[in-house]
Amino acid sequence: MNDRPLWRSLAFVTAIALLATACGPSSTTPPASGSAAASASAAGPVQKGGRIIEGSFSDIKTMDPILVSDTSSDYVTSKIYDSLIQADPKTGEPKPRMATFDQSKDGLTYTFTINDKANWSDGKPVIGDDYLTAKKLVAKSKLTVRKSNFKDIKGWQDYVDGKANTISGIQIDKADPKKFTVTLTKVSCDAIFQISSYVMPTQVFGKYATDTSKDEIDKAPENSAPPVADGPFKFSQWKQGDQVVLDRNDTYWNGAPNVDQYVFKVVADSTVLAAQLKTGEINFGAIEPKDLADVQAQEGLRVTKVPQLGYTYIGWKTDSTTVPALGDKRVRQALAYGLNMKDVIQAVLFGEGQAHVTHFVPVQWAYPDPSTLNQYPYDTQKAESLLQQAGYKKNANGIYEKDGKPISFTIHTNQGNKTRETLAQVASEQYKKIGVDAKVSLDQFQAMVDKLSAGDPSMDAWIIGWSLGTSVDPYAIWDSTQIPDPAKKTTGFDFGGYKNADVDKAIDEGRNPSNGDCSIAARKKQYETFSKILNDDQPYNFGFVPNSLYVTPKGLQNFDPGAFSQTYNINQWWIKK
């Protein structure tokens, strides 16, 4: 990505920011105290003070958890508002954080108990009422995109519709204000992440969640200047377009941070971000592979590599009417064998990534044993023989065809994203070698989003990426109900029109098991089935999983990022002088 013009790189950055929205508010929630003590002793006694200055390409938009819908805002907000439950930073399994939780035998009722030490920065305790307030605010808001997260809570819809004054499924213990139960109308295995998320201070936001409140929460000034915090930092200042400054929260229940401040600083692009790490203007940030060698050569900087919670892929329109070949599994398998992903990873990521052959990524607990998957090693002969098996013959131009229709399609990707542009170019060249004509079209990102979400038939093939959240449930991407239908004007993320009854069944059993068994072991079984079918069906060429490259000064102690959260233990970080 070294030579792209700046406006393109900016568009790319924005696109990434928009794309990376994939995680809901509960996704980057930082987990509780880890193995801090051990490494602290190795580096000597903890030194207090200093500040973490993190570089980002995009500014935050809001600090109200219920309105957050972009990565930057989510990231900063999660430092101010702590979450009840966390995804284990390394595996994504649900773990207690500010609260412990318990599930009833029938799987329908969750009992939460908030930590005794959990207080707001104004001294008031964090209590069950604050949970209820947060949910009421979601119901009142007209601009939140989180309403359906809570639709399985009993009495939710009645409250949203104004038929009830409270949400009957949320009951606060009369004897212990820190204890409350949430009752669902049906068993849902990922519900714990969906229903827990943040609590909000009733003393501040309660006035927007009264019986007579309308959508005042959407315009509340506290959204851009939160007055109290229950997270490791509290809000100090937001200079829009430039920086957000958070101060240490001395009353943080999990132990006040060692550093004085956390600053979230906006920088123009990845080149500038790398430069600022070198000059020390920022001391935390994720660089791109092209800057890796340069940064590694810097004394005093350390790079920590973490495989990402997401992948970049080439999607196939499996229900295409114009390119029927893409509906044939053998053709799609040929397209997997016919592209040397190792070359691509070397070319676009400088080796910082790994080839990918199914939906779940290695950091997720649902990831199957890779030896059970076909890895589709680069093999042009196999690719061609698969095309022949599918009844295709080479025509005069060297392109395989059947019934006079050559295998010819266009791969769309967003202009300005060098990684995807290069993947498209390499794919086009290599597919030619196996007798497949793949053209490349560089589209405007906004237009691509419109066409993909609406199921536009012109999108034969496309390259984008998925950022996966804490919830492993692949329903939104792979369930056949999520196929967008231009005729009915419905939208969805199953852009390629992929439909497989066994996949639908495995997804359903993984989220709402008929026997009510939500254990990791039982769900893992379903997801193994799911992964194997996708691996065989190849509705995407699953592309690659890039590494995140986090850069910090060598003196920063206790930095131990996971794919699910990099800052879960930020209160334990300290800077050795």
Binding site: T144, V449, L468, A476, T491
Partner: protein, 319 residues
């Protein structure tokens, strides 16, 4: 005079309506929907959530109706809420006006301080190597893409030499009113922003000085026995400057809105940066507010310029 001003003010109304219509159409007809964009790839935002928010924002209404809704609020000075920031679009823009102004004024000062002397020197040394050099400089810097030049400056002065900060307008932890710190942040963006202006000022100034220098009153001044520097500074340059002053009004407005690319490169949190991000994110209310406020500034500065014309030159008829 009053009738002139009133009439000119009335003229601005169709201008602004036209600008608003064109901007509205371009931004809405270009592909992309703000809510679908910011929720794209977010499996927790279900289609029904997205449609509910689009409905709440009125994005599902027919376009003419959306325009009428917007216009009826806009005439009352309300440009609506930002779709991305959930804050008043007007307030978002106004908060950035001081930042853009600082950059614009600094660039303007640089343009005058550098461009004017260059033009005068080129005129006085017409045909010399100096003149040629200045002409080449003007052409080159007029043509150099500012984002590229900005990045070069960052690499040299921020990364290699480490003399200047590369981004933003304030060192983290420093006070807002630390003037020295602010100036250090201003140097590079202001210089890059001023380049095109320096080049054109130098050229205008050269032409004007050449014209003035052959006038009778210059000969008279010399004949009086005045020293050459006095002749040039007091008589020639002062008169050559007059046509340039009239250009200032428009240029200031241009500097405020035209700093878009430079604000991106240096992460200068001005109107340009906000407008750019709003265009990319399809944040219609902010795009509209940004364009309307910039247009208003431009129209007012032209009006002022015309009023000044009338005041200084009685030959311009107001009737």
């Amino acid at each position: 005079m009053r009738r002139f001003v009133i009439r000119r003010l009335l003229y601005t109304i169709p201008t602004l309506i036209g600008v608003s219509l064109i901007t509205f159409l371009i931004s809405h007809l270009a592909p992309g929907d703000p809510v679908r964009l910011y929720t794209f790839g977010d499996p927790n935002a279900r289609p029904e959530d997205i449609e509910a928010v689009r409905h709440a924002l009125g994005l599902d209404l027919p376009l003419p109706l959306q325009y009428v809704d917007w216009a009826s609020q806009a005439v009352r000075g309300d440009f609506g809420q930002s779709i991305l920031y959930h804050q008043s679009a007007t307030m978002l823009i106004l908060a950035r006006v001081p930042n853009s102004l600082q950059l614009a004024i600094a660039a303007l000062v640089l343009q005058l301080l550098i461009g004017v002397p260059l033009g005068v020197v080129a005129a006085l040394r017409r045909g010399s190597v100096v003149d040629q050099a200045i002409r080449v400089f003007s052409t080159v810097f007029h043509a150099v893409p500012s984002f590229w030049f900005g990045l070069i400056l960052i690499v040299v002065f921020a990364v290699q030499l480490r003399w200047l900060p590369s981004q933003g307008m304030l060192t983290i932890g420093k006070d807002d009113w630390d003037i020295l710190d602010r100036l250090r942040h201003l140097v590079m963006p202001a210089f890059v922003l001023s380049l095109a202006g320096i080049a054109s000022y130098a050229r205008i100034m050269r032409t004007e000085t050449l014209e003035v220098i052959n006038q009778d009153y210059i000969r008279t001044a010399r004949a009086k026995g005045l020293l050459e520097p006095t002749v040039i500074a007091v008589h020639a340059v002062r008169n050559a400057l007059i046509p340039m002053v009239t250009a200032l009004g428009g240029i200031l407005a241009f500097l405020i809105s035209g700093a878009l690319v430079i604000e991106q490169v240096f992460t200068w949190p001005g109107i340009g940066q906000l407008t750019y991000q709003s265009v990319v994110g399809k944040d219609y209310p902010v795009v509209m507010a940004g364009v309307m406020i910039s247009s208003l500034l431009l129209v007012i500065s032209y009006l002022l310029r015309d009023v000044v014309y009338v005041l200084v030159d009685p030959r311009v008829k107001t009737g």
